[in-house]
């Protein structure tokens, strides 16, 4: 016998999802599609291109080692940043999880407080700390520790430092959420069977928090490799990343087809890493981390 009714109307589901779907189509999928189309347009001169189809942009990207060098460097800086985030972020996360302090929410709130200040201003603040007239370079000579101001700004170290500053909370939250998901009786069980607390950490806590650490690493890597403002403000021309290259190509050279090509390259490369992660670890970890 055919059932004449359903528990819920499938049309309702579509209606509810429609606004988001439309938003995504018009403001994400379509723009990316336009960009993808632009990569096959012909560059004539600064600010002028024709819709005559060509593979010249792609050819240039794949043959000119300037671009691949930039890409590799960006991935390297992103990887270093992510790894540093992992090392530096795990401990605060563990501390917040393990503390017997009653007001844990306060510690978590402190993690989010920096987000209340504009990201650009937070990045600028490093100039006042590391710069030639910054706090350190003014204080240390006065204390007689150094004679010459230290060249701390406008190098790769400053760029990585700036990115650490903005990415650490993401890492800490990711790790914290996965730690919070561990059943604490597992640790009691391990301890009762003869583990010291360090051994219980190695046997239980660390392995079970690895998914959160991995999610944090990916998130930090993608955000660092895709960053543009931090290297622009804290790095010299040599420390520019792929994002800055795209900016220069589009806004400086006014070469939209090449800029579009580079954008799609970065999109595909970072998307590739995200896809690998999703395949093996599951996207839910990231979502959990962000929701944390």
């Amino acid at each position: 016998m055919e059932r004449r009714w359903t528990l819920y109307d499938p049309r309702l589901a579509w209606m509810l999802v429609a606004p988001v779907l439309l938003l995504l189509i018009f403001f994400l999928v379509l723009p990316i599609a336009v960009m993808a189309a632009y990569t096959f347009f012909t560059f004539v001169t600064a600010g002028v291109e024709t819709s005559a189809l060509t593979t010249a942009n792609w050819h240039e990207f794949f043959t000119d080692s300037y671009y691949s060098g930039f890409l590799l460097k960006t991935l390297r800086v992103g990887a270093i940043t992510a790894l540093l985030c992992g090392v530096l972020g795990y401990f605060p996360a563990y501390f917040i999880w393990a503390t017997t302090f009653k007001h844990k929410w306060l510690l978590l709130l402190l993690l989010i407080v920096p987000f209340w200040i504009s990201f650009t201003i937070r990045t600028f603040s490093w100039i006042n700390i590391l710069g030639e007239q910054g706090v350190i370079n003014v204080a240390l000579p006065k204390l007689g520790i150094i004679n010459e101001p230290l060249p701390m700004l406008y190098n790769e170290g400053a760029v990585i430092l700036g990115m650490l500053h903005f990415l650490l909370p993401y890492m800490i939250l990711n790790v914290y959420v996965s730690l919070e998901g561990i059943d604490r009786t597992l640790i009691s069980a391990a301890r009762s069977m003869g583990c010291t607390s360090a051994q219980a950490f190695r046997e239980v806590t660390l392995p079970l928090s690895l998914p959160g650490l991995a999610a944090g690493l990916l998130l930090c890597f993608v955000l660092a490799a895709g960053s543009y403002v931090t290297p622009q403000l804290l790095g010299s021309g040599r420390d520019a990343l792929f994002g800055n290259l795209i900016y220069d190509t589009i806004m400086g050279e006014l070469n939209w087809p090449m800029g579009a090509t580079l954008s799609i390259v970065l999109f595909v490369v970072l998307g590739f890493f995200a896809a690998i992660y999703t395949r093996y670890m599951g996207m839910s970890q990231i979502v959990k981390g962000l929701a944390g």
Binding site: G194, S197, Q199
Partner: protein, 393 residues
Amino acid sequence: MPDSQNLTEAPRPETAGVAKAGAARPAPVGAEANSPAVEFRNIDIAYGKFVAVRDFSLSIRKGSFVTLLGPSGCGKTTILRSIAGLVDISGGQIMIGGQRVDDVPIYRRNIGLVFQSYALFPHKTVFDNVAFGLKYRNVPKPEIKRRVGKALEMVRLPGSEKKLPSQLSGGQQQRIALARAIVFEPQVLLLDEPLSALDANMREEMRVEIKKIQKETGITAIFVTHDQEEALSMSDRIVVMNAGSAEQIGTPEEVYERPATAFVADFLGKANMLAGTVSVSGQGTATMVLATGQTINVACPRPLAQASNVTVVVRPQKLSVGAAASANRLSGRVVSASYLGGSAIYEVDIGGRTNIRANASISGRVLREGEVIDLGFDPEGCVLLDESGRRIS
């Protein structure tokens, strides 16, 4: 963590590969060979201002199966956790195998723990889970393999070494947890409501299994539950707990047949409590008038003052129905009747807004709601409680 200064210390090297539970350490001076497996001496446990356990004393014989039974919040789990060292006691002493363990950290107490939530390591195979305790006792690898295999056979899950806990059912997971807790032959096995997460059929099967394994291994087991059936069917002794202290300690028969307090009578098996006053009290027997008006004769261990208030505790199974109800006849009307196949449970209004429960085998037909019913019980088939709710003895 309190023992962080001991991070690098190897756990209990002296127990490496020990074969017999209880033989783990050489008996220290003063500890007799046949000292109790676990002994509580006037322990108090407080969380801040809240006192969870008050002046609790108990001595548990080696190889026995002792159950801490009580409603949630009575302190039974807290006591169990204090043996393992998962909670600190604020007063008194705990001895394991005749040795004080107040300062012994959890990982050196040589205790097997089974949790309600199984607490199997989800990222480790069954083999690695069961081998865990042996690994930290520096047992050589071939020996670990042999003993894990033996433990898995004991819980009737041989060959499951390579599986992950998530591939097992709840009952199977709890068996693995049991194997994991007994494989290193701990001095005491602590079971914290291990059956509560299982469904009814599984629970009964596991009940038998746990008891069987405990007997086979001769391990001392302390079992925590709020389920009276589990307690009655499995235990050598039951500690009935209420509000942080022990109400009664005794064999299942003792606590069921001769409840020491009104709480025990009510918690175990929902006894009928009939209020009454003593009219005549002689040697070994007393006549009393119930609040509902009936006069009954009861066996009484000592003469009672006339007109003193007494509560008569009668188990539903001790009430006979119909023609079988010869002594102490109480008549009433059936409020509800539940047919259970071999027997029936009647809820009977005997007047004075008092309902009593009778669980009687069926002779003839099951009486229906509203019908008149005769109930009776032997003068010996009841327990008397004094005004403060304690058994008159």
